[in-house]
């Protein structure tokens, strides 16, 4: 049996060492990665993928810790992918999300993996989707993805998660912040954490007011839940809402959402493959460096250069 086949077989049997090794392979983009993913793919699609996002310090990791505990009480197996930022200066990363979940690390039904963004924008790592696939194929019932501490534009999570939980805390900003685009548009469920603090009701009502501006009544109206993760308050409510949302996802109104996600996946794959093959070809022919020179001398701009290069390479390509 080939090594890859054995590895895939062991992942499907939920062997922890194999899961860990496979995630490393896909994360490092090693040559075997694609074959592994294609062999694991048929085993995926069973897990409920939950994204947890929100500003730095809002309590995402602590909340996830409690969430996993409650899910385990309900006899569900859980995978966690926790993403923290890579330093753009040194390429190193300090991955500290596990600290709030360490008591779960010896539970056989839980698998936690920390991941650095490796400078991928949008709040996730490039390999986050692949890591989710590996955990899904290993038979986890629920997979929780924690984004980096996010601001307004770290919204990549909607491309990988079925249910997005936005975690906020009182005192992070006024109602103007709540009207801004981004974070406030992506939540299927909102949690106002640290509810033992002042101004929690004000925060809840501001989010409510914002969400009720949504004219589309057919759709899911995101609930706003008060929680104090550190005291384990609000977690059962949250899981009930997550389950409700999952039921809603199975209705036909949202079948489209699933199709959209598959579309994005294909588009991302095409982009990656196309860019890789075109660029390596151009480099081999020396055209790449030739144009780099021209751009540096300001003889041409990067967009016109790309048009010129692609017209030669792709027959049907029309510069727009």
């Amino acid at each position: 049996m080939s090594q890859i086949k054995r590895l895939v077989g062991n992942v499907v049997k939920s062997d922890r060492r194999s899961i860990a090794k496979t995630i490393t392979l896909v994360e490092n983009n090693q040559p075997e990665a694609q074959e592994i993913i294609s062999k694991l793919y048929p085993h995926t699609g069973k897990a409920h993928i939950i994204g947890v996002t929100g500003p730095t310090g809002s309590g995402k990791s602590t909340l996830i810790g409690k969430l996993v505990k409650e899910l385990r009480k309900r006899k569900r197996t859980v995978g966690v992918v926790a993403v923290d930022p890579t330093s753009p200066f040194t390429g190193g990363a300090f991955l500290g999300d596990r600290i709030r979940m360490q008591e779960l690390s010896t539970d056989e039904g839980v698998f936690i993996r920390s991941m650095a963004t490796r400078n991928n924008p949008g709040g996730l790592a490039k390999a986050t989707r692949d890591a989710i696939m590996v955990l899904d194929a290993s038979g986890k019932d629920v997979i929780i993805v924690e984004t980096v501490g996010a601001g307004q534009s770290e919204v990549e999570i909607i491309k990988v998660a079925q249910t997005v939980v936005v975690v906020l805390a009182p005192g992070l900003g006024d109602d103007i912040q709540a009207i801004k685009a981004g974070m406030m548009e992506i939540g299927d469920i909102f949690v106002v954490n640290k509810a033992d603090r002042e101004n929690v009701d004000k925060a809840v009502s501001e989010i409510w007011a914002m969400l009720n501006m949504n004219p589309d009544k057919e759709k899911w109206t995101p609930p706003v839940i008060k929680a104090t993760a550190i005291k384990d308050e609000g977690t059962t409510d949250l899981i009930d809402k997550i389950d409700e949302h999952r039921k809603y996802l199975k209705t036909e109104v949202v079948g489209m959402k699933y199709k959209e996600r598959i579309e994005t996946e294909l588009i991302e794959a095409i982009k990656l493959k196309a860019a890789q093959s075109v660029i390596s070809d151009l480099k081999e022919r020396g055209e790449f460096d030739e144009f780099i020179g021209k751009i540096m001398e300001k003889k041409i701009d990067p967009y016109s250069a790309a048009d010129a290069l692609l017209t030669k390479r792709l027959k049907k390509y029309k510069a727009s």
């Binding site: 922890r16 060492r17 991955l95 500290g96 596990r98 360490q102 690390s105 920390s114 650095a116």
Partner: protein, 135 residues
Amino acid sequence: MKSDRKIRVIVAKPGLDSHDRGAKIVARAFRDAGMEVIYTGLRQTPEQIVETALQEDVDVIGLSILSGAHMTLFPKIMELMKQKRLEDILVFAGGIIPDQDVPALRKIGIKRVFGPGTPTDELVKFVRKNTRRRK
């Protein structure tokens, strides 16, 4: 396809002491050296440390201890690593560890013991030199 490997390190605090200043400085030094550092926080059991190393598929474990329980906890950790076939992970230790204990610790597979005042670049060099490409 280009492969982009990084050295992954766990900095762990086994046992009951709560002095994590040193561990945090070491973690920070590894981060600044371009490594990915997983920090486990305080009061970790041997089981938690070894299981974390397994799930995170690390190349290196750094153990920081100041409580004096190293002769009990470290052998337990090394034993668990053997059971889980994680012997290829590089293990080193730091903190307050008397010289006379060092030979015994090296014997069970702890590659180096660093004392207080070790310059951080010495640690970084040590890790770089001793992490071979693992499978």
